[in-house]
Amino acid sequence: MPDPELSRLEHQLGRLLRVGVAVSAAALAMGLVCSVAGLGVGDGIMRGGLVLLMAIPITRIVASFIDAVRRGDRLLSWATAFVLVVMALTVVYSWRLKR
């Protein structure tokens, strides 16, 4: 477990996560202000912020997957791949639910 390469990636991902949440929060705040001020763009900006927020953990898993494959870490490759498949299935399921 004390794998220096793994933890370096984790630190980079950690920074990505924090920056991502900060950008998303900024978009949400801006959108909320526009929306309260009665500007039509507010809704779109807020939706952008929300989509970004949802994309953050997905990005993390994709990065972990790519890194695990590169390092030949089979357990981690399979686990992250499985989680991504579950996410894809969720999208398919929700799409069908909507129709």
Binding site: E10, H11, R18, S35, L53, M87, V91
Partner: protein
């Protein structure tokens, strides 16, 4: 927004996500539909768990391999929960939520005097999923093996299902991973936060596609929870939270009763 600040602050102080407070607040006080309230709450869970699991001080405590393996079960549980709950009507969902709140209240009371259980460090073989880390407070090297893996799988699946009601599910996973599976408390909490982000995304994507996420309320709630959890951590370092935990357990029990009788 104010609800988000309060929920986030309390959640951070008590070591649970804000969802347990945000869902009843949005539903009972603001008057949003229960399904909308739980969807909004789940989005705020992504924000808090992303931030808490990515805090530099907490990163070394995360067991990535264990987290990713258990994430298979939390996300599958999430999808299962979506399927079950999409067929459920409001009263059923509220009763399920009442049960979860009751469990959270009990867990909270039981954990009153257990905060940091750091095991002795040995030169033991930690196995595929175990880990080693340096405790940030005692500076000791801690090593652990993960025991009773099927229990960890089971509780992760259950936490995944439950989280679709708008809570993180960490309050179920963390005590079980700690007490039954031998994972140190801090590692259990940090690893759980990592899993919760992915699990909440599963629910949020689905709820977003179903149009259950109202941008204005969600934006206000996310900002509030982020501000609140920041404040909560700052206060939490200095204060003893024992009394607050008892008070909140009482609040949660009340919420459980309200939802149980609806």
């Amino acid at each position: 927004m104010l609800a988000g600040v309060v929920a986030g602050g309390l959640g951070a102080l008590l070591g649970i996500g804000g969802g347990a407070f945000l869902v009843p607040f949005l539903n009972l006080v603001v008057g949003l539909d229960f399904k909308i309230a739980s969807a909004i709450s789940l989005v705020t869970v992504i924000a808090t768990s992303s931030v808490t699991s990515a805090t530099p001080g907490r990163l070394p405590l995360v067991n990535l391999r264990l987290g990713m393996v258990l994430e298979i079960f939390t996300t599958s549980g999430g999808l299962l929960g979506l399927m079950v709950f999409s067929r459920s009507n409001d009263p059923t969902l509220k009763h399920a939520f009442a049960v979860v709140m009751a469990v959270v209240a009990v867990v909270m009371i039981r954990q009153l005097d257990r905060r940091t259980s750091v095991p002795d460090s040995h030169e033991l073989d930690v196995g595929v999923l175990g880990g080693r880390f340096q405790d940030p407070h005692t500076k000791e090297l801690v090593a652990y093996r993960v025991k009773r893996l099927p229990v960890a799988f089971g509780v992760s699946l259950l936490a995944g299902v439950v989280s679709m009601l708008g809570v993180g599910g960490g309050v179920l996973k963390v005590p079980v991973l700690n007490a039954w599976c031998g994972v140190p408390m801090r590692t259990a909490a940090a690893t759980s936060a990592l899993m919760i982000a992915a699990t909440a995304v599963v629910g949020s994507i689905s709820y977003y596609m179903q149009g259950r996420i109202v941008p204005t309320y969600t934006a206000a709630a996310v900002l509030g929870v982020l501000a609140g959890s920041r404040a909560g951590f700052a206060i939490g370092v200095k204060t003893k939270v024992r009394g607050l935990k008892i008070l909140m357990a009482a609040v949660l029990a009340t919420v459980a009763v309200i939802y149980a009788t609806r």
